[in-house]
Every structure is written in structure tokens, then in C-alpha cells.
């Protein structure tokens, strides 16, 4: 055992020296390799964190949302609907919600306006609470006054009460919260009307029943289920991720070809070195193990560098390089502070798909060179 360890130490020693001897080549390889891991890992970390984020947000969302439709388009909920809902079995609670979009021509971005319902979040008339991204874009701080042009054409002044925390910027970035009365007058909405109705259903099994009853009782409305939204989100993420992964797999392919080329065109001096080592008493296994350490050191280093860089990129630099491709739905690019989420399986997958092809691509030709008789070095 001790001899075995000593031997591995010698082999690694030799490997390090050998890596240092071919500095330029190995550095180039390391760079290409790290960049590949970086791109793949960035995509994986980003989509994973995004999905995690969306799921976290939707967890707090109502099970069913009722929207009224007029001629196939979303319309306001008139007074009286809320009361009629209370009689449906399975519905735990219901609330009318007020929300909508507002286009700010100054910064050419869309905001989401909302009037929170709960007492705890109630906002005094004339005040607003704004999301962090919007605060950044408009340069707002608590106490500032913001003038917006209402739907009636009237300029309306709001006082910024506070800025929302960054926790879940994906959803809250472009948010503007205000009181219900302010909301209605800003958008010129008649009193008692709501944008939609959120229903809480305690028993997940009941959700479909409730939806069926809603459809029967309110023929002019459409129930939207949370599970359906979740599915939609998933498919959007999967689709985007799919595009990026397709591109990445092309990158992997290119890398494999590159590695194969590099290795199968095993440089003459490398072949000679293998021959010399064998001739002076190294076993085929020793040579292969040494080369294995070489491949392993390069791959593991590249993997670590690439993965760490991707981590920094996604979680500290807000995926600056390809967020526009992956997000796309927000005009006002939220400067993400995604909460770091790492999925072990994903790391393992990435490791397997980068390290394994490289190792195979380098070791096969080395194995072929190593099993030949060493007498070639005699001439």
C-alpha cells in the first residue's frame, strides 16, 4: 500500500513536470476546456436557479384565478361576482385583485401596477412602493416624488414610500404597489371592479372540481389553475434551455473533436517519450496511469475554473452574457440576484459530459502508443 501511494506520488510528480514542460499547449487546452465548462455550467445554473425562483414564487400564488372574458379578451370583474363565489364548495377564500401594466415612455419600460389586498401591506393613498429595478432605472429613493401620466391623461404625483427588497427580483423588479383607490382612479376603473379574482382551494384534489363549477356558474369567465401556470413556465424554461443546450452540445462536440484531434495526433515527441519511459522500465500501466493523471488534472482544473466562473457569472454578475436570450419577457431587464441553487445531479451530469469525453479522447491513443513494444526507441 505504501509503495502504491509512493508510486502514485511519483507519477503525479512526473505528470506535473510534464504539464509544465508543455506549458503553451496545456494552457491553451485548459482555456478552451474551461470556457466550455463555463458556458455549459452557466446555462445549467441559470435555468435551474430561475426555475427554482419561479416555483418559489408560484408556491405562494393562489390555486385558481378567475378572469372574466368579453369577446375572448380579458375584461374587468364587475361587482357582485365575489359574493357569488363564496357559495362554491371547496373554496376556502377569495379576493378581488387589482393589477395591470403601465408603459413608462420615459425609460421605455413596462411596470406592473398592483394594489395589495392584505391589511398588512396596505398603502396610504398618494403613496407607492416600487420594485428595486424600477427604483434603479428611475433613480428613486424613499421619499421621492414620481409623476406619472394616468389613463385619464392627468399627471398624478406619487410619493415613494419605500423600495421593495431584492429577494425575488424576477417578480418584484418592475412592481409598483399602490392603494386600491389610487389604482382605480389612475386606470380610470369604476369602483367595485377588479382585474381578476384569486381563489384559495385547500384540497389539491378539489381544484379541478372547483374549476368545473366555476366554468358552469360563470360562463363569461375562465378559471386559470396554478398547476397549469407552473407547467407553462416549465415548458418555456425547457424550450429556452433546450435552445441553449443544443448550442452547447454542438460546443461539446467541437470540443471532443478538438480533444480527439489533439490526442490522436499524439505529438511525435510525446510518442517518443512514452517509448523511452517503457524502455527504461515503466510498465504500460504506469505510462497510462501517468497520462491519466495528466488528463485528470487538466479536466478537473478546467472543470473547477469553468464552474466557479459560471457561478460568479450567474449569481454575482447576473448572467450578464446571456440573460437576454434566456429571459426575454421582461422589458425592464431585472438585474437578477438569483439565489444560489446548486443541483448535485446537474453538477455530476456536467462533469460526466465534459471530463469523460476528454479522458476517453486522450487516453485511447495513448493506450495505443503505450502497448507497442518499446524497441522503437532503439533506432
Amino acid at each position: 500500500m505504501k509503495i502504491w501511494i509512493e508510486k502514485q506520488k511519483y507519477l503525479i510528480d512526473y505528470t506535473l513536470a510534464s504539464l509544465a514542460r508543455r506549458k503553451v499547449k496545456n494552457a491553451g487546452l485548459l482555456v478552451v476546456y474551461s470556457v466550455l465548462v463555463f458556458v455549459l455550467a452557466s446555462v445549467m445554473l441559470f435555468t435551474h436557479a430561475l426555475r427554482h425562483e419561479a416555483r418559489t414564487v408560484l408556491e405562494g400564488a393562489p390555486e385558481v384565478v378567475l378572469q372574466r372574458m368579453v369577446a375572448g379578451r380579458h375584461d374587468l370583474i364587475p361587482p357582485g361576482y365575489l359574493e357569488r363565489l363564496g357559495r362554491i364548495r371547496g373554496v376556502q377564500s377569495q379576493e378581488g385583485r387589482l393589477w395591470g401594466y403601465y408603459y413608462d415612455s420615459v425609460v421605455k419600460a413596462n411596470y406592473t401596477f398592483m394594489a395589495p389586498n392584505t391589511e398588512a401591506e396596505a398603502i396610504a393613498p398618494g403613496n407607492i412602493v416600487v420594485g428595486p429595478a424600477m427604483a434603479r432605472v428611475r433613480g428613486l429613493a424613499a421619499g421621492d416624488v414620481l409623476t406619472l401620466r394616468a389613463y385619464t391623461g392627468k399627471l398624478t404625483r406619487f410619493t415613494v414610500a419605500r423600495i421593495l427588497p431584492q429577494d425575488s427580483e424576477l417578480v418584484s423588479a418592475d412592481l409598483v404597489l399602490m392603494s386600491s383607490d389610487d389604482f382605480r382612479s389612475f386606470f380610470d376603473m369604476p369602483a367595485g371592479h377588479f382585474t381578476d379574482i384569486a381563489l384559495r382551494v385547500a384540497n389539491p384534489q378539489e381544484v379541478r372540481n372547483v374549476a368545473a363549477k366555476l366554468a358552469a356558474q360563470f360562463p363569461d369567465s375562465r378559471p386559470i389553475l396554478r398547476e397549469e401556470i407552473l407547467r407553462t413556465y416549465e415548458s418555456i424554461f425547457n424550450w429556452r434551455e433546450g435552445i441553449v443546450l443544443l448550442l452547447s452540445s454542438l460546443a461539446v462536440l467541437a470540443f471532443v473533436i478538438f480533444a480527439w484531434d489533439k490526442a490522436s495526433g499524439l505529438a511525435a515527441d510525446e510518442k517518443r517519450e512514452i517509448g523511452i519511459l517503457k524502455a527504461i522500465g515503466w510498465e504500460t500501466g504506469d505510462v497510462i496511469r501517468m497520462k491519466f493523471w495528466e488528463a485528470a488534472l487538466i479536466s478537473v482544473f478546467a472543470f473547477l475554473i469553468g464552474y466557479l466562473a459560471a457561478y460568479v457569472h450567474v449569481f454575482h454578475l447576473a448572467s450578464a452574457l446571456f440573460a437576454p436570450v434566456l429571459k426575454g419577457w421582461a422589458v425592464l431587464y431585472p438585474r437578477f440576484k438569483l439565489s444560489p441553487v446548486i443541483d448535485g445531479l446537474q453538477v455530476a451530469t456536467l462533469f460526466f459530459f465534459t471530463v469523460f469525453p476528454y479522458a476517453a479522447a486522450t487516453l485511447v491513443p495513448i493506450w495505443r502508443a503505450a502497448i507497442t513494444d518499446p524497441d522503437a526507441v532503439m533506432r
Binding site: K9, A17, I276, A279, I280, E283, P374, D375, V377, R379
Partner: protein, 250 residues
């Protein structure tokens, strides 16, 4: 070719001071066997190499000297025939065992020296011992000592490509000795050296003989072939040993 042997002495195969270290029986070697370019480099070699003696293989270019040296040193296998090492048949052994035998029994000094560029002389000398996994400090000391004995102590940290031809050869010799083998095999050891360096090599050879090493050389060089250190000269031609020019110098 026999005319080129200046110090030919009486043939005396009957007297054996020592038992044979290596015994070859009917060795054949064919390259590219079964293909249209098949080439039979050795055609039935019978040879015994006594222990602690210096044997030189000579003969024209292409006569099969290097091929025979490779087979004796377990660098390659004969196509047919038997190789015995201290009475033990090693021709059929699997690679692992053969490598182990080679490592412990033979030290090679190649014609091109075959040092690994970019590494220091010291590291090159230590290389054959790496797979043995011994203590690093002891190994380094042994390598330093060998280099010092070969008057290269001051160059041990130098990268081998910076060394002169003679120095490189001495590094190669030190490397051949690091695992303390009984047999030293050198292919054309003086081919790349001028007269002064060749004489230096003969000096080293003398030391090896004094240390009780069995030495096997190939050479065209009269300086080597005619040296008084050489007990036996075996002449080869066309893959065979030329009979009766099988010389032993007293």
C-alpha cells in the same frame, strides 16, 4: 568485417570462467510478419553471454545487432526461439513480468541517449525508479551519487538539452545504473562521440567491469572492439552469427 577486428585472439569457446547469464536458442525475428513487406532480421541465433564479461556485437549495418540487443534486453520478443535468463526461460512471460525483469536486470544506454527533454539531468536519472515507488530522498541521493561518480555532479540541475553530447551520454549511463542492474546494454555507445569522449566512455566501461557488471555492446568502433576490456566479440551478418569469428580475447 573480420578484418576490422584488430585485436583478434585465439578462439577459445571451451573455457568458461562463469556460467552464462543469458542464453539464446534459435532466435528468429521477423518484422511485419505475414505482410508483403515481411523482413526477417534474425535467422536463428544461438548465443551465450557469460556473467561479468564484456561482449561486443559487431557487423555491418542492417545485420540485426540492434534487433538482437532489444530481444536480449526484453525490449521486444523474438518471433520464435528461447531466451533464458540465469537458466530461467523468459520468452513466454507476460509483459508485466518482462518489464519487471527488464527494470531490475538491464540498464540501457541508447545510441540516441533518449533523455527526456525539458527535465533536469537528475530527474532523468531518477526516472527508471519511479515505478518502484521507493523513498524519494534515497532515490535522489543515489542519483546524485551516480552523477558525481560520472563527474557530472555540478550539472545535475541542468536541463538535459543544454548538456554536451558526452555529458548527455553520462546522464544516460547514470540512468541505466539507477536500478542497480546486473547487465548493461549499450547500442553504439561511441558512435556520437569524438575520440577523447570515446576514451572517456572506455574509462567508465572499465569501472562497470570492476563493479562486476555484465556488459553487452554493439559497435563498429575499433577503439571499442579492440579494447582489452572486451572479452568477446561476436560478429553478425544478415541476421546470423558469423561462425568461427566468435572471438574471445584473453
Amino acid at each position: 568485417m573480420s578484418g576490422a577486428l584488430p585485436a583478434m585472439k585465439t578462439v577459445n569457446t571451451a573455457v568458461r570462467e562463469t556460467a552464462p547469464m543469458i542464453e539464446l536458442k534459435d532466435i528468429h525475428k521477423a518484422f511485419n510478419q505475414g505482410q508483403h513487406n515481411e523482413f526477417r532480421a534474425l535467422k536463428g541465433i544461438d548465443l551465450e553471454l557469460p556473467e561479468k564479461q564484456v561482449t561486443v556485437l559487431c557487423g555491418p549495418s542492417g545485420s540485426g545487432k540492434t534487433s538482437l540487443l532489444s530481444i536480449i534486453g526484453c525490449l521486444s520478443r523474438p518471433t520464435s526461439g528461447r531466451v533464458r535468463l540465469r537458466g530461467r526461460d523468459i520468452s513466454g512471460l507476460p509483459e508485466r513480468f518482462l518489464t519487471d525483469i527488464r527494470r531490475r536486470t538491464f540498464g540501457f544506454v541508447f545510441q540516441q541517449f533518449n533523455l527526456i527533454k525539458g527535465m533536469s539531468a537528475l530527474e532523468n536519472v531518477m526516472l527508471p525508479a519511479y515505478p518502484l515507488g521507493g523513498d524519494w530522498r534515497q532515490l535522489r541521493d543515489a542519483a546524485e551519487r551516480l552523477l558525481a561518480e560520472l563527474k557530472l555532479g555540478h550539472r545535475s540541475a541542468a536541463r538535459v538539452e543544454w548538456l554536451s553530447g558526452g555529458e548527455q551520454q553520462r546522464v544516460a549511463i547514470a540512468r541505466a545504473l539507477i536500478n542497480a542492474p546486473d547487465v548493461i546494454i549499450a547500442d553504439e555507445p561511441t558512435a556520437n562521440l569524438d575520440t577523447a569522449l570515446s576514451l572517456e566512455f572506455m574509462g567508465i566501461l572499465e569501472k562497470l567491469v570492476d563493479d562486476g557488471k555484465t556488459v553487452l555492446l554493439t559497435s563498429h568502433d575499433p577503439l571499442v572492439v579492440g579494447s582489452s576490456l572486451v572479452q568477446r566479440v561476436v560478429e553478425m551478418r544478415d541476421g546470423r552469427i558469423v561462425p568461427h569469428v566468435y572471438v574471445e580475447t584473453a
